[in-house]
Amino acid sequence: MALSGLDIYKLLPKTNCRQCGFPTCLAFALSLAKKAVVLAKCPFVSEQAKAALEAQSQPPIKLITLGDDANKVEVGNETVLFRHEEKFHHPCAIGFIIEDSLSNQEITQRLEKIKQFHFERVGQLIKTDLIAIKQTQTGERFIEVLKLVLGINQPLALISNDKTALGDALKILAGKKPLIYAADSENLNAFSILAKEYGASLAVKADSIDSLSELAAKVKESGLQDILIAVNTNNKPSRTLGELTQIRRQALKKNNRNLGYPVIAVIEKLDSYQELIKAGDYLAKYAGIILLNTLEEWAVLSLLTLRQNIYTDPQKPLQIEPKLYPIGNTTENSPVLVTTNFSLSYYTVLGEVEASKVPTNILSVDTEGMSVLTAWAAEKFTPDKISDSLKKSGIEEKLKHRNLIIPGYVAVMSGELEEKSGWKIVVGPKEAAGIPSFLKNLT
């Protein structure tokens, strides 16, 4: 809940001295409320006013950074419950649990696999974010495994109850801001001290949301700022989802600072499908970090794709630069397909064109990121617009022919487009999947 301009005004000196560059304190306050200016511009604010305003200006869910500058991941700072209201800001971090009971060889194999987890989808690189080392053996073994994992250059989480082992690990990780998982009512003090000393963040875990709130408050009192809330994932799913939702609502709707932290969900070892499905639920419903065990490529690809979907800005669909894209060794006889500049449309068409192995020009028209049918309905994919793009693209100089293939869904515009552009219009398939056979049959 942000303060209004008037609320802020009450906290200012009300002297209208103009040092802030505004004619009055009220004008300054109104601008502050809009976040158009920073509080520091007024040299006369009282300490008390500062504290009140700063607390208010903090995001309701704290942004937490794991890792060092070279390899970091940021989670939190979310502002909504439903992505259509604004967007989800910091993609949920996805990581894998490495148990120290595995042999060194198994661990190395796992790490090799994890290194491969990056995929390109609709022009974006999607990848996993962190590794968690779980202690089940001696402290020495834990450190041994930590050293094996160090080479991988990803932020780390340390899953352990052993404060001596944690202390040793944190010493090695100085400056790398790892996450400690997790403090409960028993070890809260010791873990808070460790985290503070070594600049780590600390997750708190408890059986109920009330206890979580109390624990987080205690950690904060100890002076540690970087806190995560661990949800109980062994509960019935509806309970876990209820908890995840309540934590987000407390932060956003009640401005409950004790629960204003990102949530971490650690998934116990299950069948890979089940881990994936569980992770999918947590991803949709507010987890900031998900740790899982499965290293199946298909599961990782699916989960990262879901994250890409859920965290896409609904007001700003992924777009590509609208221009001409020659695919393969195009010649003056190569066909021309027209589509929108909505990433998904373009990359789907691109995939099929590549699969056809027929060198083809794809003309991407600026539809402000709308798909073919949406853009057509919104008059962003019109004969005028397409004719314009044809001219601007410079394709007319490159080709001997004047045949333009349009998506089957907009066949109705053929006549008008033919008139406007002077090109001959060929109606292509409705679905991109039909492109390869269509292109092959052209010749």
Binding site: S238, L306, N309
Partner: protein
């Protein structure tokens, strides 16, 4: 000190749609499916009841599918050549809640099958199975307007769920469904305003809201899933806040979409870093389905038996209070 929990209070519930009619109701089913009725957001039981669990309909085509990947066809086996055997398998072996028969063979560009053959498949499947039936046309408006009324009549009293109506073509099918006692699917192109508009148009023909199911037109994981996801969230929030014209259950054609995705079909040789092909396809369909459950899906229309099993088990877990 106990936290002051933020609980939402809703003023409206989603309508309950019943599919299938028992013998003493004028049909021949041995069970019926009720869907919808939610009084709150998905699986937040503390804020409102979910009287009916989400259900899974398995898709059966009247002709052998020619564009289904092998990981899908081989899972179903030889029955895929015979819609009646296929439907029986969905009921008996895969424990589907409903059958969803898609009359793909009716399409003029496909086999353009004569109406008698189509009505016969509908009747034969009703005869061979005991669970409720969803019936979908071929998607070509003209042809659907010709054949669906005949199929509707042939199944009179069975309380099918028939689809699909769209804004530009809803009258013929709505009239048939009204006359024969069926419910209908109202399809809108990922657009909450059109969804509402169509529901109003259909209601204006005196179809009650307990006989309409919304198809928000979902996209698969990686292929626009997030658009329908948010449209469903918005529509459901509006419904719970009192908008009755958006307060119908959702049907999501998950299998149709998921198995078109490259990731569900491509071989491991083609994309070695994507992992095993079979599991990838199943995961693609299952994760698409479970994600829509989080947005309020009531009926999931699915294809792969293993994906169906995974999602059913997940629904079992989700429904535990």
């Amino acid at each position: 000190m106990a936290l002051d929990l933020v609980k939402e209070k809703w003023s409206n519930a989603v309508a309950v749609v019943t599919i299938g009619a028992l013998k003493d109701e004028g049909g021949t089913r041995s069970s019926v499916v009720r869907c919808g009725g939610e009084e709150g957001l998905p699986f937040l039981f503390a804020e409102g009841k979910t009287p009916h669990r989400p259900v899974i309909a398995m898709e059966v085509l009247d002709v052998e599918p020619d564009d289904w990947p092998q990981s899908l066809t081989s899972a179903i086996g030889p029955a895929i050549k015979n819609p009646v055997e296929w439907a029986v398998k969905c009921e008996k072996d895969y424990k589907a809640d409903l059958i969803c028969l898609r009359l793909a063979g009716a399409h003029p560009d496909a086999q353009n099958r004569p109406a008698e053959q189509l009505t016969k498949v509908v009747k034969d499947i009703l005869q061979a199975t005991t669970i409720p039936l969803i019936l979908i046309g071929c998607g070509e408006d003209k042809r659907d307007n010709e054949i669906l009324p005949l199929c509707s009549q042939a199944a009179k009293g069975e309380r099918l769920l028939i689809g699909e109506t769209v804004q530009a073509n809803y009258k013929t099918l709505t009239a048939s469904a009204l006359a024969d006692g069926h419910s209908i699917i109202a399809q809108s192109p990922i657009d909450i305003n059109i969804a509402k508009q169509l529901n109003i148009l259909i209601s204006d023909m005196s179809m009650s809201i307990e006989r309409i199911v919304i198809n928000p037109t979902v996209g698969a994981l990686g292929y626009g899933l997030e658009y329908a996801y948010s449209i469903m969230e918005r529509a459901r929030l509006a419904a719970l806040s009192g908008d009755k014209m958006l307060g119908m259950p959702f049907i999501c054609f998950v299998g149709y979409e998921a198995w078109r995705a490259k990731e569900a079909k491509a071989s491991e040789t083609e994309f070695p870093t994507w992992g095993k092909q079979l599991e990838r396809g199943i995961a693609w369909e299952a994760l698409t389905a479970t994600t829509f459950l989080q947005a309020g899906a009531d009926i999931l229309v699915m294809r792969h038996p293993k994906a169906v099993e995974l999602v059913r088990k997940h629904i079992d877990e989700l429904m535990k209070e």
